[in-house]
Every structure is written in structure tokens, then in C-alpha cells.
């Protein structure tokens, strides 16, 4: 880190506030403060490298600040679908050389930029990062704080930093045992829906959501990532989990909040009675019980993306798919989040489960979620997927309907050919093809 973590005696802070203070070189911060934190890593994906380069070039910049801290990731368009895309890849590689980028995870080298850094220990507990893409909040799953700069990433590239206003923190204690067929993604849809509908007694806009509670203590990393992912879509600033011993095994610093830290609100949410959720077209904040939409015809299904692209997500879906077949009218795309996950699925025989069922396995990365550059939807078609979000046009066509579900709900729906509850899947093996 750039400075030692502040002494708790100086000012009580939450864990995320401590990371922000340390990165900003100040002893303490409080909500509302404007700081200029110094990121250990800056991550930018292939969808914005050229735009950033063009903007800085127009201003007269010919180099960037601390290129050794900048990571380029190719995950939005991995397998170029056109000569124009391939040409863009060429230009990105030229920019990487020109700017002296040494950490370049090009196509086939890492996978999804919100996932492989977690697996590889590139992102470690206690780090502060600045990234282009909003779903860098995934890194909160291991107690790292990554702020999405969006288009302002050019300021970070040019000067090394960009201002941040310290957000308030809302603490959510998730309690209870999840029911059958329920995954962390369902909990994410449920919380997003409650927040967006104003049914939780706390604000969420630009808040850091800090999770704890007995449910969280049992969650694997993939589950924590899933919770980070859905809430990010409704406008929270960040999501924070205390790192586990496993997370710390890859290095880093386990930062915890002070006992007397200030939280804007503390909420208790019992998930014991939650049933599988499906997010209606429009966003993860439109969650409903799966029963409300069960039977809706689907043409397209997709498993992967930054909220459900880890090994455990595919293993759960494979358990549903094993010895079953994807419905004949459904195109079912499976996109391992990372190269390492794809290799592990192959080694464990799970890729074979997907392929035997009739799924199409795409290269690691974002898959159709990146604007439908791979596996898009046609006008009038309907999809169910684990994508990050599902607003109109997300997978290509603006008139297609896109629903979201957990990995097991998506797998069950691909088999049934319509939105289905994995708990009530009654198709006989191979019965649907």
C-alpha cells in the first residue's frame, strides 16, 4: 500500500474508509470528504482502450502516468467476429506498445477482467484500484476497493489519480439458510429489488454496502462476487466483504473496520424464505419469484459473465444439466469466466457435460453480455441468462426480451425451453431434445 493503515485511535473508520484513506495518504477520511487516491492498479478493458487513447492524444499526451501499474484486458471481444474487430485488436496492441503497458492480458491470456485478477491474486485484499468498468466492484468480494472511473479513467491514466468523494457505508447482515434452488445471485436480485423499490430503510445511491452475517460466512468467493455484481447495477458505490483466510492466502492485507465505525444504516435481512428469483427485462432490480414467469418461452440462454462466471457457478449448472439435454429450439451459450476456469472445467469433465447437453462453449470473457458481439439475440427473441444486466439492447436487438436468473435457473430453463424452476425440473433425461 502507499501508506500504512491509519491507527484506529485517530478516527473510527469502516474497512473501506481505511483503504481509501491509506490510498489517499491521509490519516482518516469521513463520508463527504473529497480525496485523490493513488491506485495500486489501473484496469481498462478492450472496449475503452482506444477511446482513452484518442482522447489523451487529442489533448497532446503521448505517454501515461506509471504505465507499470496499468493493466489492459481483452475480454469484451475475445474472438473477433469481423475484420474490423480484428483491426481494432491490432490498434489496441499498438497502443499497449506505445504506452509501455507490460501487464497486458490479451485474448486467451486471462479471461474476464473482473474475475481472473481475483483467481490469480493480481487483486489482493486491502488494495485500492481504479478501473474503467463499473463491475470492478467484484473485487470487494476479497476486501479490495476498486472504484469505477468510467470515462474519467483518462484522468487516472494521465495524472495517476482522479477525485473521489468518500461514500457513506450501509451494513447489511444477511442471515439464515438459503433454500433449495437458491443461489447468491437470487439474493442479489432480491436485495437490488428491495433497494430500488424503497423497501429497505436505507439509501443505496453511491453507498458502500458492507456485507456480513452468518449467510455471508458460508458463501464461497463465487457467491460473494455474485452479490457484488447485482447491487452494482442499481448504483451503489461499492460492495465490501471481509476477506477470508483463503483470500489472504494469496497475499494482501485483511482490513477490518473499527468497532465504533460509523454506518449510515445497519440492516438485517433474513434470506431463509427466499425462493429462486428471475429479474424481468430492464435490470436486476426487477426481481420476481420464478413462479411468476415460469413457462415463458426462451430462444436463447447464456451462462457466464462477471456475476456468475466462476467455477462454482458452472459446477452448479452442470449438476442440473448432467444427463439432460438443452431444448431443441434453445441456443445455450456457456462462457467460462476465465482461462483457468475453462481449464478446470475441462479437467473435471464438466465442459463435457455442457457439450453433451447441446450447449455452445464460447471462449473466456464477457460473452454475449458485452453488447451481443458474440451469441446475440434477434429481434423478438427471448433470453434468460446470468448476464450482469438485461436492459434493452444488451445482447444486440433492442426488441428482444432478456431475463436474468441464477446459474441453476438458467440451466433448468435451457433444458425446459422456457423459464423454469430448477426445483421442479421434471424432464426425463435427454427427454427434451
Amino acid at each position: 500500500m502507499n501508506a500504512p493503515f491509519p491507527s484506529p485511535a485517530r478516527a473510527p473508520m469502516t474497512a473501506a474508509e481505511k483503504v481509501l484513506a491509506a490510498a489517499s495518504g491521509v490519516l482518516s477520511v469521513r463520508p463527504g470528504d473529497v480525496v485523490s487516491p493513488d491506485p495500486e492498479l489501473v484496469i481498462i478493458h478492450d472496449g475503452y482502450v482506444e477511446s482513452a487513447y484518442n482522447e489523451l492524444s487529442q489533448l497532446g499526451y503521448k505517454r501515461i502516468w506509471r504505465p507499470e501499474r496499468v493493466v489492459f484486458v481483452t475480454d469484451h471481444e475475445v474472438a473477433y467476429a469481423s475484420p474490423a474487430s480484428a483491426l481494432r485488436g491490432t490498434r489496441i496492441r499498438r497502443i499497449a506498445r506505445e504506452w509501455g503497458i507490460t501487464q497486458f492480458y490479451d485474448a486467451g491470456r486471462g479471461g474476464h477482467g473482473h474475475l481472473f485478477p481475483l483467481e490469480q491474486g493480481l487483486v489482493r485484499p486491502g488494495m485500492f484500484l481504479s478501473c474503467y468498468d463499473m463491475h470492478c466492484t467484484n473485487f470487494g468480494a476479497v476486501g479490495a476497493l476498486a472504484v469505477a472511473a468510467g470515462a474519467e479513467i483518462v484522468s487516472v491514466l494521465a495524472t495517476g489519480s482522479v477525485w473521489e468523494q468518500v461514500p457513506h457505508t450501509v451494513r447489511i447482515l444477511l442471515e439464515g439458510q438459503q433454500g433449495a434452488g437458491v443461489m447468491a445471485r437470487d439474493v442479489g436480485f432480491h436485495l437490488s429489488t428491495l433497494f430500488a423499490a424503497g423497501k429497505l430503510p436505507a439509501a443505496h445511491d453511491n453507498r458502500i454496502i458492507e456485507f456480513s452475517g452468518d449467510y455471508v460466512e458460508r458463501l464461497p468467493l463465487a457467491g460473494r462476487v455474485a452479490l457484488c455484481n447485482s447491487l452494482t447495477e442499481i448504483g451503489v458505490a461499492n460492495v465490501w466483504f471481509t476477506p477470508t483466510a483463503s483470500d489472504l492466502g494469496k497475499g494482501g492485507i485483511g482490513v477490518t473496520g473499527d468497532a465504533d465505525a460509523h454506518y449510515e444504516a445497519t440492516l438485517h435481512v433474513d434470506i431463509s424464505h427466499l425462493v429462486p428469483q428471475v429479474a424481468l427485462p430492464g435490470g436486476p432490480q426487477f426481481g420476481v419469484d420464478v413462479d411468476e414467469v415460469a413457462g415463458t418461452h426462451v430462444d436463447h440462454a447464456y451462462l457466464g459473465a462477471c456475476g456468475s462466471g466462476m467455477y462454482e457457478d458452472f459446477a452448479s449448472a452442470a449438476a442440473v444439466l448432467r444427463d439432460r439435454a438443452v431444448a431443441r429450439h434453445v441456443r445455450f451459450f456457456v462462457v467460462p469466466g476465465t482461462v483457468a476456469t475453462a481449464q478446470r472445467l475441462a479437467n473435471d469433465g464438466l465442459l463435457q457435460v455442457f457439450q453433451a447437453a447441446g450447449a455452445i462453449v464460447l471462449p473466456p470473457g464477457c460473452g454475449p453480455c458485452a453488447g451481443g458481439v458474440m451469441g446475440p439475440l434477434a429481434d423478438g427473441e427471448t433470453s434468460i441468462s446470468t448476464a450482469a444486466t438485461n436492459h434493452a439492447g444488451r445482447f444486440g436487438s433492442k426488441t428482444a426480451q432478456a431475463y436474468l436468473g441464477s446459474p441453476v435457473t438458467v440451466a433448468a430453463s435451457a433444458i425446459a425451453g422456457c423459464i423454469a424452476d430448477s426445483r421442479s425440473l421434471t424432464l426425463s433425461p435427454k427427454g427434451a431434445r
Binding site: 497532446g60 505517454r63 506505445e98 453511491n206
Partner: protein, 183 residues
Amino acid sequence: MTARLLRRGRCHVFGDDIPLDEGLIPFDMAIRRIDDPSILVPELFRQIDPAFHDRVRPGDIIVAGRNFCCGKPHLQGFIAMASLGLSVVCTSMPYKAMRGAVAKGVAVMTGVDIQAFPFKTGDDVEVDYTDGTVRNVSQAVSLTGEALSATLTDIVAEGGTRGQLRTWLRDHPIMSTELPRPD
């Protein structure tokens, strides 16, 4: 460091929950990634206030209620506002929208309870973004809001992110030279 950020102009009053897409400016402008102010300016508020374009003058002030510019924080509306030198006074604004406005050089003051006093479109309004005061000159009434921090004041005064980056380049001329090529 900017001493004060003062703006004075005629105000245009809007209510609560004005969406950014299809409210501040058509969503189509964002989808088409248009950044030419000459195209964007006539579209500003067109869908909810068709007379706005004929009425607005450079330097005017937008007065709005809660949740101004809600929705996805696309930047096209703020490019148009910056081009006209418009400023914002509102009760609240989503953080990312506020951030987008400042990045384009638009001054924003939140925390102003516009329900407490009936602003009328056309009122002469003076805003001190540095100390958080709003004075309705026409009706001789003052309100308070949240002052813009010194950091954000400087960004707005320099014309947003691009202005700041020009200043940074001037102060760090090495950034305008290419990295040495490895042998």
C-alpha cells in the same frame, strides 16, 4: 485554487425525478455517441419542455427538485449544458450524474430545498457554489445548499476534466513526449 465560483442568470424550473435519458436529453444521443454541442443543444430538455431551446440563454441556471438526472449517467446532456454555460441548483442528484456534470464543467449545487420557496422560470438567480448560497434576486429570497468542494470547484472552473488535463500537461511537459523505445 479557485477563489469563488459565482454564477448569475435566469432560472428554468423543473420538478422532481427528471430523468437523464428522455428528460434532460433523448437517449438516442447517447446511443449514437454524439458529442457535438451543435447537435446536442437543441435537444436539451426538448422532450419535457419544448420551448426550452427558444427560451434558454447562455449562463442560465437550471433549478430542479429531487433526483435530478436520474438513470444511467450518460454525458451528452452535460456536454450541451456546458456548451451553454448552464449551471444546476437542485434538491438532490444521483452521485454519478453529479460526477458526470462536474467532469464536463457544469457547476452543481445539491441540498437546496426548492419546495421551500416557489422559484419561477425567468427569475434572476445568483448562486455562490463556493459557500452554498442561492439568492433569488427577483424575489429577494436566499436559500442554502451544499457548497461544492474546493477540488470540484477547481475542476468546474477549469472547464471540466479536459480543462484539468490541459493544465496538467502544461505543468508536466514530459507527458507530451513519447516513451523511449526499448532497444
